[in-house]
């Protein structure tokens, strides 16, 4: 099964283009691909429950793994144990693992 890692570094408060990764993730998941959305840098800002996190929760409901970089969370004082439903904290190693495994990795 083809594997994709989409890295979202932008946040919906500053950019209206965060829908690109969500839309692409949905399309790829619907085509039965293994898809992970990895939020990094300000990309983690919407993961507090209610903070425009509905899109992320909805995306997780389609089978896309939605992960947030632990360091980016810590840097912004976001409690790893209080993330929006469907979002989990993860280390940056996730990205290197995906690259090593030959996944298609896209930085947005």
């Amino acid at each position: 099964m083809p594997r994709y890692l989409l890295i979202e570094s932008r946040d919906p408060f500053d950019s209206n283009d965060t829908r690109f990764c969500c839309d692409l993730a949905r399309q790829l998941a619907a085509a039965k691909n293994d898809v992970t959305l990895f939020l990094v840098q300000n990309g983690v800002l919407p993961v507090r429950p209610g903070a425009r996190s509905a899109d992320l929760t909805s995306l997780a409901g389609t089978g896309v793994k939605v992960l947030a970089d632990s360091f980016s969370l810590k840097e912004r004082g976001i409690d790893e144990n209080r993330l929006a439903s469907g979002v989990a904290a993860a280390p940056l190693e996730i990205v290197l693992d995906a690259l090593a495994e030959g996944a298609k990795v896209i930085w947005h």
């Binding site: 300000n42 690259l99 090593a100 996944a103 930085w107």
Partner: protein
């Protein structure tokens, strides 16, 4: 140790302008610790990341001397990553895009950095297990 891989990363940001630079170094650090071979193609402003003339400074706002401030200096971080990769059986091949170097006057880079071209990026990518482009905005 994980199987040895070769990863190519293309970057574009000058130092001190965006969080992408830090995330890139974090990724390179992880790869260096795994002993991977890491190719970095530095395009546009990123050719200044390993610029040898960077110097640290004190921080008067915080009352810190040069030593106390211990300011992050990208060229030193890159040199440390090169040592880390070698220590673990890997290597960092840092290629600065030559025309980008010329127009920025950035030829004075730390040891281990070489001048290259887009053809090098393509060839490095073709010879890698994977490639990640971290473009600027």
């Amino acid at each position: 140790m994980a199987d040895k891989k070769t990863i190519t990363i293309a970057i574009m940001d000058a130092p001190y302008e965006n969080a992408r630079s830090t995330t890139t170094l974090r990724l390179i650090d992880l790869a260096a610790k795994r002993g991977y071979n890491i190719n970095v193609f530095a395009y546009e402003g990123a050719v200044l990341q390993p610029f040898a003339a960077q110097t640290p400074h004190p921080n008067a706002v915080h009352g810190r001397s040069v030593e106390e401030e211990n300011h992050f200096i990208p060229k030193d971080a890159i040199a440390a990553l090169m040592r880390e990769a070698e220590k673990n059986g890997g290597k960092i091949d840092w290629v600065n895009c030559g025309l980008c170097v010329d127009e920025r006057g950035a030829a004075n880079a730390i040891p281990g950095v070489r001048r290259g071209s887009p053809a090098d990026f393509w060839q490095l990518s073709e010879a890698s297990d994977n490639t990640l482009v971290i473009a600027t905005r």
